[in-house]
Subunit: 257 residues, 2 copies
Amino acid sequence: MSTASTARAAFRDGVVASTAGWAPGFVQANLVSVPTEDAYDMLLFAQRNPKPCPVLDVTDPGSPATVLAPDADLRTDLPRYRVWRHGQLDEEPDRVTHVWRDDLITFLIGCSFTFEAALAEAGVPLRHVDAGRNVPMYVTNRDCRPAGRFSGPLVVSMRPVPAGQVATAVRVSAQVPQVHGAPVHIGAPEELGIADLARPDFGEPVDPLPGDVPVFWACGVTPQAVLLESKIPFAITHAPGYMFITDVRDIAYRTAG
Amino acid sequence: MSTASTARAAFRDGVVASTAGWAPGFVQANLVSVPTEDAYDMLLFAQRNPKPCPVLDVTDPGSPATVLAPDADLRTDLPRYRVWRHGQLDEEPDRVTHVWRDDLITFLIGCSFTFEAALAEAGVPLRHVDAGRNVPMYVTNRDCRPAGRFSGPLVVSMRPVPAGQVATAVRVSAQVPQVHGAPVHIGAPEELGIADLARPDFGEPVDPLPGDVPVFWACGVTPQAVLLESKIPFAITHAPGYMFITDVRDIAYRTAG
């Protein structure tokens, strides 16, 4: 547990950990950096797929600064990054100063970790947090709406929710449309093409308790699946579950309701 | 009164009228078409200023088609357009086929007319509709957050609301964040730099009744003020109040609340 700035300082100093449960109450964000020539397609992809890709900020070219945390350096303040070359995962460093470029535009995209505080406040248990694990994420059989060179499947995160609290989980997350909003699917994982919940594509599996129903939210890892499919020459992202922690309070993204 | 498609057909056939009150229950949209080279800055401007510029769709280059109304032609189906050259209003035609270009990307941006149906349902009177007038719009002293070559002031629309119903108007419009959402300002027009409500910059003045309070919403005409300031070589917009009527129902943009 920490505030946003001390969490970022810890990651900058070399701590490597999933940010789930860190700096409660502060908005966490997915990071995608692409060269200027790919930025329009990425921004359009986000506009066309707002549930998995709710854009919170877009930087100026080459800038490691964001309005979401004025003191942060986007090249060093995440616990783990991924560097992509031609659709291949090339390295997973804990900073990206060595591969940074003047033409990189960085997208900070809402993360479902953000609404977890709201779920917890409403009494909805978070099984993965209780187990000290990263949230499980799955590539689905649903296609995103393409934009220019970007196309690919929807990725979802899954949280087991007690059947009696599923409606509460929907209501609470619907109030944060800028951080994925309401679930895209409840129960019936096979309908999303997920054969085995115990084998997520990203993150770690989480054990449901008896009476839990799997609830699926659109996930900010979606752009990574899309980058992989598009095979653009160069991109940087966060590592799934290792997010950017902003100075913005969760409450700022809740709708009046 | 009409459905969306018959309204569009009427405009295509030469009817010229403000779309306020037309096709009730259907989402209306602002239109901005810019050359491909300016599209990234326009999309980023919209992302950075979501209250005045909530993007509902972005077309492919040169395409007059939108997913918001598959049968529509964006070059002919609005009642009135504005053609801009180097920041100057060049003409106000009722179709733009003669100036259309293969490199134009069109942005359809949410319009406050959309939440008027919700306001009316909630019993909030719409003085300008009752008077058969276009809604009054004002250029404010507030700057939008710039993006690339685009910068300029926030434009607001104003509706006089009975003091006892202002809270209802806030609550109802907050439930449609994709069409401007909650008001940006209530009362005190001088704080926005508006000297005289009877002299709007766009649209027509509307007479308040005793006990009415002026309520200001971010307005989709904002991009026009921005195009004017940026002096880009070429752009097309709708004429203020003469909107694109989509096939999408208002209810689709209401949050769960």
